[in-house]
Structures are given as C-alpha cells and as structure tokens.
Symmetry: D3
Amino acid sequence: MERPSGRQASQMRKVEFLTDVSKHAEGSCLIKFGDTHVLCLATVEAKVPGWMKNSGRGWVTAEYGMIPRSTSERMDREAARGKQSGRTQEIQRLIGRSLRSVVNLEAMGEHQIRVDCDVIQADGGTRTAAITGGFVALHQAFSHMMTTGMIQTMPINDSVSAISCGIWSRESVLDLDYEEDSSADTDANFVITGKGQLVEIQCTAEKDPFTEEQFMELLNLAKSGCKELSNLQGRALKI
Amino acid sequence: MERPSGRQASQMRKVEFLTDVSKHAEGSCLIKFGDTHVLCLATVEAKVPGWMKNSGRGWVTAEYGMIPRSTSERMDREAARGKQSGRTQEIQRLIGRSLRSVVNLEAMGEHQIRVDCDVIQADGGTRTAAITGGFVALHQAFSHMMTTGMIQTMPINDSVSAISCGIWSRESVLDLDYEEDSSADTDANFVITGKGQLVEIQCTAEKDPFTEEQFMELLNLAKSGCKELSNLQGRALKI
Amino acid sequence: MERPSGRQASQMRKVEFLTDVSKHAEGSCLIKFGDTHVLCLATVEAKVPGWMKNSGRGWVTAEYGMIPRSTSERMDREAARGKQSGRTQEIQRLIGRSLRSVVNLEAMGEHQIRVDCDVIQADGGTRTAAITGGFVALHQAFSHMMTTGMIQTMPINDSVSAISCGIWSRESVLDLDYEEDSSADTDANFVITGKGQLVEIQCTAEKDPFTEEQFMELLNLAKSGCKELSNLQGRALKI
Amino acid sequence: MERPSGRQASQMRKVEFLTDVSKHAEGSCLIKFGDTHVLCLATVEAKVPGWMKNSGRGWVTAEYGMIPRSTSERMDREAARGKQSGRTQEIQRLIGRSLRSVVNLEAMGEHQIRVDCDVIQADGGTRTAAITGGFVALHQAFSHMMTTGMIQTMPINDSVSAISCGIWSRESVLDLDYEEDSSADTDANFVITGKGQLVEIQCTAEKDPFTEEQFMELLNLAKSGCKELSNLQGRALKI
Amino acid sequence: MERPSGRQASQMRKVEFLTDVSKHAEGSCLIKFGDTHVLCLATVEAKVPGWMKNSGRGWVTAEYGMIPRSTSERMDREAARGKQSGRTQEIQRLIGRSLRSVVNLEAMGEHQIRVDCDVIQADGGTRTAAITGGFVALHQAFSHMMTTGMIQTMPINDSVSAISCGIWSRESVLDLDYEEDSSADTDANFVITGKGQLVEIQCTAEKDPFTEEQFMELLNLAKSGCKELSNLQGRALKI
Amino acid sequence: MERPSGRQASQMRKVEFLTDVSKHAEGSCLIKFGDTHVLCLATVEAKVPGWMKNSGRGWVTAEYGMIPRSTSERMDREAARGKQSGRTQEIQRLIGRSLRSVVNLEAMGEHQIRVDCDVIQADGGTRTAAITGGFVALHQAFSHMMTTGMIQTMPINDSVSAISCGIWSRESVLDLDYEEDSSADTDANFVITGKGQLVEIQCTAEKDPFTEEQFMELLNLAKSGCKELSNLQGRALKI
C-alpha cells in the first residue's frame, strides 16, 4: 500500500537544519522535517535551579510549545488556558532527558542551558524533530560558552537524534507524517546517539497490540534513520 | 552483585491482589508489589465525555495520585499545589491507554469507566502496579455492568498487566524496587497482554545509553513477569 | 425511631486504631469508625514555616484529602480541578487547630510535624475521625523524635479526640453515619481533651434552628463519646 | 481587668445600619460595629445554580471579601494572588448557611439572591457583622421581589443576627474588637434568630481549652447581644 | 442633543474628595464623580520589590478592584474566578504609571507606596477617578512619611489628575457617565499634571474612526477638566 | 543626535510582508520590521462566542504571545507560569479592537476569525507590527471565506496599520527599535486607517511629561508612517 506522501517505507521526509536564525539566542536551529518546522533556541544561564546549588554540576532542560495554528485545527493557546497539557509536559520532559543523555553535567560547571522548542508548523513528528534540532542548538550554545571562556572543554560526548516509526496499513514505516500518524496502529519514538546507542524507546499500540517482530522492524528503521540524522547534524554543525 | 532485596535477577516481589476492598466502587483492587501498595477503584458512569456524545462508543480513563507520605520523603500534596505534576499526568495517560488496549469500546455502549489509582505506599513500580491492579478493578466493573443489565457481553478481549525492568549494577533485573530504581542505569516499563502481545514499551537511559542486547534482555524478563501477573489476575478474578 | 444502623442513640460505631501501618511515616494510624476509614500519617520536618523562623517554637499542621471514590458518588479529584474546596480547607484548619491545642509548641524546638489525613473510605464523620486518629499519629511522631534525640521531653500535655453528634428524626444521637448525616436537622462536631476540657464546638442547623436544650443533649453525648475515644487512644498508644 | 475600649463585659460596640447605600443593588446595608464597617449588597438573579434547575426552589448564597487595606497591616489582594484563602471560604460558607436558615427556599421560586459582604474597614468581628447586615440587605431584596411581582409572599420566616464573644483576660466578654480578639484565649461566634433559636455555634480554644461553665457564659452573653441586634434590624427595616 | 444627565458638553459631574476616611491607611481619599465612588487607600512599606533592592530608589504602585455589585449588573468576584481580568490589569498599570510620573523615586528612599483603588460604586470613569483620588492618598502618605521622619523632603514635584472625554451623539463631551460611555463613538482618557503637561493619552474608536479635529476637541476639554480637578486636589490637601 | 540605527528621525525600518507562510491557516503573514518578526495566522471558525449567538453578527479577535527567547533576555514561558501577563492581555485587546475597527461585523455572518500574533523575534514595536501584519492575515481569511462561499461580500471597509513613535534624546522619531524604546522619554502607538482616520492613540510619558507640541510631532510622524504601511499592505495583498 502506498504511503500518502508517496515515500518508501524506509524513507524519511526531507530534513533541513537552518542555523543562526536568532538575533538573541546563544544557539539556534530551525529544523524542518517536511512540513514540520520547529524553532529550537538555546539560552545559557549563569545559574542552576535551586536544588542544584553548590553541586558543582550544571543542568540542561527543555521547554516545548506549539503556536495555536501550527496545526490543521487551531488548538487553544496554553498560556490562555492557564496550564500546559499533559502531552506538552510529557514531551518537554522527554526532550530534556534525551539531551542530557549526551552531556557531561560535571563539565558544564554551575550553568544551565534551556532549550526552547517552539513548533511553528506541525505535520507529525514534532517531538523527535525537537530533539534532533535541539541538539544542534545545544551544541552551539556550548561552543558559545567555550568561546566566551565560561567553560574550557566541550561537555558533549556524543550526538543524539530522534525519529518516529509506526505500523501503518500493516507495514512498518519510517518518519510518520500527520496523516499516517493519526491512522497508525502502533506509534514509536526512538532516541539514538551518533554512536548508535539507545537513549529512549517509546512504542505504543494505538489500536491493536503489536508483536516482538513488528517492534524489531521499527527499531531497525529507526537505527538507519538516526544514522542519517546524525550525519546531517554533523554537517549543520560543521564538525 | 546481589540485589538489595536479595532477590534473583528474574524474581518479582511478592504480588497480592486484594479485591472487594471498597464499600462504594463498582470494581476495586488493592494491589501489593512488596511494599508498593496501590488502591485501584473503578467507577461506572452512565455518560461519556462531551467529545464522544452520540458516538455509540464508551470510554475508559484513569487518574493517578500519591498520598503525600506514601514516599520516603513527604511530597507536596498536588491538590494544595494547585496542579498535577508532569509525572502524574504522564502516568495517568499511560494507565488509561493501557487499559483501553484490551477493551472493545463499541461493546461498552455510551458509558465511561474511570479507574482511580491511588498510591497508599510507594516502593518503586507504582505505575506498573496501577495498570496491573487497575485491570482487575476494570474487569469487576464490567461484570457489575453485566449483572445490572447495562451491557450484555463482556467488552474485554484480553487481560493486560505491566512490569518494570532495569539495568542495575550492569545486570538486567526484573521488578525494580525504589532502592534499585533510584540507582539504575536504565529503567523500562512494559505493558503486555495475557496472550503475550505488546501494548507499550518505555525504556529510558537514566545515565549511560543502553545497547540493543541489553534491551532484549529486559524485554524477555518482562515477558516472563507479565505471564505470571496474568495468571495471578485470572486467579483474583476467578476466571 | 430506630437509627438506620440499629445503634442506640448514645452508641458509637465500632472504632479501631491500626498503628504502624506505614513503611515511611514517623507516626501512622489507620482509624476506622465503622465504614469510615482515614489514614493518618505524621511527618517530622527539621524546619518550621518561614514566618516562624528563629522563634524557638515548633509547629503542627494538618492536611486533609479524600480519594475520589471514597464516597458513594465519585467526587472530582482536587489535584485535577486545581484547587482544594472550601470544605477541605475548613476541615484541615480544624484538624491542625485541634491537634495544636494539646501541644506545647515551645517544647518542640524548631521542628514541624505535618499530619496528613487521607480518607480511604467515607461513611460520615471523616473530620472527627481524622482528629482522633491524627492525635495517635502525632503522638508516635513525638515518640520518634524523643527516641532519635531531637527532643528530650514529650511536648504533648493532654490527649484530644473528636466526635460528631446530631439531631436526627428529632432525637439527639451520637456519631452520625452518612445516611443520618445527610438527613439530620442539626449537625455538631466536638473536640474534647482526655481531661474533659473543650477545644472546639461547631454546631450547625442544617434545616430548622435548634434550642439550647437540644444543644446540651448533644454536648453530653459528645463528652461520653470522647471519653471512650480517649481510652481507646491510650490503649492504641500503650500509654 | 478593664477592656481596651473601656466597655463593660456585656457591652457591644455602637452598631449602626445604613440602608439604601447603593445605586444598583436590590438590597443594601452598610453595617458598622464600631470601627468594623461591612458593605452588604444583595443581588437578585432570575436563575438558580445548575444543580438546582427544575427543583422549583430558590437559593441564597454569600460572598465575602476584604479590601486590602481594611486591616492594620495591608493584606494581599486575593484577586491578585489568584485564590481565596481558606479563611475567606470558611466565612462565606458560614454567612450563606446562616442566611438560608431563616429563608423558605420553596417560597422563593427559582431565583437566587447573592449577598456580597465586602469589608471596607476591619476591627474584629467582620463575619458576624456580615451576617447581621447581610440579613438586612437580604430582606430588602425580597421586598424588592415582592414589589416587582417576582414573588407573592415574603420567604423570610424569622430574623437572624450574629455576634462574637470570647474569654479575654480570663473574663467572658461580648463583641470582641481586634485588640481583644488577637489576645483572647477562646473565641466564639453565635448565630441566633430573632425568636432566640440557635443557628450556629462556633467556639474555639485559641490557647488553653475551655470549660463547659465558660462556654455557658459566652452563650448567655451572645443571646442578649443578638436580642439587641434583632431589635436594631427591625428598626432598620421598619418592620 | 441633550446629555442624559442634562449637563453641558464641557461640564463635569460634581466631584468630591473625602479625606481621612480610613482608621488604618497612611493616606486615604474617597473620591466621588457623581455616582462613581472610588476608595483610594495608600500604604507605606519599608521595603521595595526584589528587583529594586539596593537601587537607592523607591517605588509607587497601584492595585484596582471593583466590588461585585458596584455595577448595574453584578460582575463575578475576581478573587473567586481566580484571576484578574485583562481590563483590571490594564487599569492598575495605568494608575501606577500616572502616579509615578509626578514622583521623584530617588527622593523616596527604598520605600514603596501601594495605592489600592477599590470601586465601591461605578457609573463610568472609574479609572480616571482612581488616578485623581489616588494622587490625594499618595500625597498624604508622603506627608505621613515626612512627619514620621522616613523622608526629609516631599518627593512629589507636580500634581496629577485624569478625566475621560468622548464623542457622544456626534458631539465632544467631558466626563462621560456610564450611559454615555456605553454608547459613545470614541472614548478617551487623559492624564495631565497640575502644570498642564501631558502624562498619558488613550483615545479609542469604539465604532467609527475619529478625525484629528475631533481628537483636538477632546484634548481641549480634558485640559480644562484637569485644571479644575487640580484645583480641587489642592483644596482637599490644603496646599 | 544620531539614532542607534543611523536612521533619520522620520525613517521606518525596512518592512517586509511574507504571505502564504502557513500550510494550515486561512490567512498568514510573517511581518518583519527590521529585526522584529511577528507571525500572524488567521483562523476562520464557523461559530461565534456564546454571548453573540443568534445575534446575526460575527466577531474578530486576536491573541498575542512571544516565544521565550524572542527577546534579548529569555522571558518565562507564559504557559508554564500559568497565566498571561497584564502586558500580553493589554496588547491582544488592542490588536483585536484595532482589527475590528475596519470590519463590518454584520457582513461576516455568525463566523469568528481569530488572529494569532506570535512574536518569533523581538526588537521593539511588536504590537504595532502585529496589527499591521494581522490585517493582512485577516484580509486573506476573508478572501478565503468569499472563495469558499461562506460570505458573499468583503466585510472589510478600510485597511488599518499601526506604528510606534517616541521622544528619544529630546527628538521625535518614528518606529522605535528596542534600544530606543528602552531609553525613550515618551512612547506612543498610533493605529490609523488607510484613509487616514484615527483608530487608537496611546501616548505615555515614560519619564518626564510631554507637551502638546511634542504630541503633535509624534502624530504627524505616525500619519506618514501609516500611509507607507498602508501602501505596503496593498501591495502584499495585491489590491
């Protein structure tokens, strides 16, 4: 069965990393996975959260938001509703955890980097795009800290990227767009380092349960996808 | 390296299901995984959420809470803080999704079942205990609906249970207690049906990333654990 | 007219104090007044609220909550609604005030004890049960502080318990259960010390006003009820 | 020992009822107990709360607030803090309950009266002043409803007023002002009808417990105080 | 076309300043513009907001509220709704800004004055009344600071008042009351100092846009109105 | 004195309108005033707010937000803080009012258009950019409604744009950037239609008051600026 976009099962959408897109932020990346566009801006702060004071360690955290009409149907503005949805909180916790997995917090000193991931336009896969683009912004922020003498060595010890997969029309496919995502049987997100190690696996049966074999197909698709993303990250960062 | 509890790597804690523990609820189960005690109470409602009206389908949802001193260090009461944490929302979304995966919503009619999972005492693994005990309370609530003539056939088409695994002291172990959980390298939760199909996989590197081999070990531990839980559920429900 | 439970007008429900019911809390008591079950857990903290710093005195406070399906009709979860009801706040203020009435705050040093009273199952009289069981948990917490050397002398100078009374079917009765409570003309709560002194009286006409004679009948019932509760507290605490 | 104000133990402050003080409200009364000034405005609404629809009955409710500098030390504005304190909620529940005790809700038809009690200046006894002045505003609102033909008969079957008493310097005194209130051993509020029946008793030991004898002294003071208030209410309403 | 009140186009309502109306506040003024009554109470605090600490400068701020039945139709109580409306926030920002425009913050030392403006009765023009009366309360608070030796010189270097104007029935009129305000084409507020300088202009087309000529008419009306208000302020303050 | 940007006193920054920048929205415009970039997305809804039902009229409203690192110093995310600031609410009310001033609400039928203005990068003048770009998005949304047959005639009867002016270094200048804005003596925003009529004037003394002459200079600058903006809007919309 043909995918709505005409892509092959193992084919990602066109991915672009636009860097240096902010006049203000210490690191910035507008990442595009097809029609999904996420603006990732990293902010360096000279202090850590209260519970980390005098620990000698730094912290990396993330926040996530969608502008109301980034989606096909306009969503309520979370600031107006007065609280972030469970989904938003779940996603920003995932982004933060994923980015920290490749950072040596001791080597950061008592600084904090906040990575704001704001979805400008959504077409499926916003959380994985945020992790992938967020890494680029984070890396730039650390470079800025080195340039300005805040730290001496790069606290990043591997790259990290993420991709979604799913079982759509009984077939395992890579990088679901919104149309596929909303009708997929199983939806999975994988966070994988540049060296190929696993950071996070989230695989959810949306309708019927899935089998171990199906899961392994998804894992294999994700590994090849993240390998490609890791290369693109390196090119964007010129490293 | 020996586990703090002295258990074998593949050994679960003692699991107990106490049923009919509520004067009021249509389904009730106090589940104990060692010192983790979760009270699961199912409430049948004769109406569905607004967005489902006139759909002819029912809904199953879950809420999760911890009493403040269920934990070693007292936590703030969420009702007093005025909002549920991201963790709470993430967990209750997971419980609801897991329970719905084995329910035929069409067969429920326009009814809703809410499963409240309140942690009375915590020692690791509260979310997996909540899913496992919540299923028992849910099944009882459906039996109640059949007895009272609200539905004619049981809308449950498989059982579902959940278990945590993790990499602790470089070894893959089943059913982490709090002491292990707080020092584990990798922490995973698996939701698996009675027939052995997968519903949800969440596997997170807390410190270093993990390998595919390690992940497969965790998956195998979880499959054997959930098989045992499924048997215990059947015995508790006398089915 | 016979009471729904068949009890005599001056007869309390069966009252049980289960102590040492928590792996974590410094004091714990699951109190049962018939089908009303309240879990009271006391937490010792090595600091006082900001406004008491450097006062040399300690503080005792209480929080109250009901799990959603503790009642016949499920209530909304207060954490999900984002605020505590007026009723909840009124009750937790009453519990804290009542417990402090028998504590010498100067003798506590700058420590705080929080007593969490969570209603597991409700059948009328949850606030009076919380005070009565909360005292037991509080006493245990102070014993823990003495054992661990945080204080030298017991800061408690009397016991305290509470009971409800009411005018039901034109008769004054002790210890209303839910069925009586919801149809009573007048509803009263009394907080009385072990030595028989009065700490708090709250008496409310739910329908018609009441006379001074009726009030005196309620007060006398409460005095005999609290005397019995005081004895049971002593036995539970082995003092 | 002499009272700070030089009053006799059984002497109330000067009490004034200013009526018709609002251009807009259907009933209005600015009540003054010495330096305590509470503006009570009653609003008639042609509908009842959702849970009362089609019950054929009406509802009376109250809200309470203090302007920030009504007190000696400025308090935070509750609207700015984003929530009403427990004290505020407790008070407005008491006012509403007290006013409803003398109203025949069936005779109101499906209308609601809201009585807003806003403290313009505080010097102790604001809640009892609010009940006493609120009754006058409520009575006027019902008169307005009769005049405009919304109802045919007056739904009020008795008057209601309230007064505080307390044990100050070991003596039972009537109508505490702020200076006495903040140093009293025991603080009590009584709500009593014009015919002398009891509606609500709240008596709280602020420091040491109190005896039954002391309580009876307070009750007797309150009865004489409310008798006088009832006369003043009648004069204000010209009934 | 005649104005509803029968006033001339350039005629203000009767304006009264009642001072020393609070037992507690350091400055107080109940200002009346016809049926619009605003109670302005100034509170002196011996500290500044956190962000101004160690700046050597003081701060003047304002809060605004309406009691619920100050208006023709009762409004919800903001404290009960849990947040201040956009309108309330806009108004209190305007009042604070206007008052600060005539204060030498350096000359205040590190003190803060809060001016609470509570609308007791509303009939149009509450924000301009609040500025005009708030200035009087503020001036008194500074006098109090001088008397008590907190400051040596008066930090106020000019007076400030405010007035509304509008285009009503195609005519430019001064000092709109509620009936005019709700049907005006253009609504303007002017804040002007005693020396005739401009502090704030807000002019809004409610229906059709307005011309520069019309705007100039409004400005001229406002200048004459504020001149009169400035004289009345001087008389109220006896300066 | 030279402006930081080297611009002439009457010279605007380079203004660009990028249209059709959204896959989803019915109208879209990314407006750039130099380094100030605001994404304006218009959403057509087939229903009006509750209070307008059955009025036969439509409604246009606006929401405003800033992504956290749009500014030089990162701001807190309003969704995380749980409420919109007074400034945000003030701005979105201004945008909505300005857009409605050129719309015939009767001609819209019972539809609502929401214009979301999200600041991607800020360098002063975000609210005036939002109005100016928001008009373009709104016009496109109405064109979409005509194309799809929702309405027959264009409900817009004039264009509307906005510009800031201010007194900087004692000189009146057009279109303040952030550096000027933060040190200006007087700050003004003007909303003017394509035909040159005035919709809103807001002029605020940030430090010293201003004179009528100064105000007139600002008004004249604004009129010329809005004339230019109106031309650019026409070109962007090809009308």
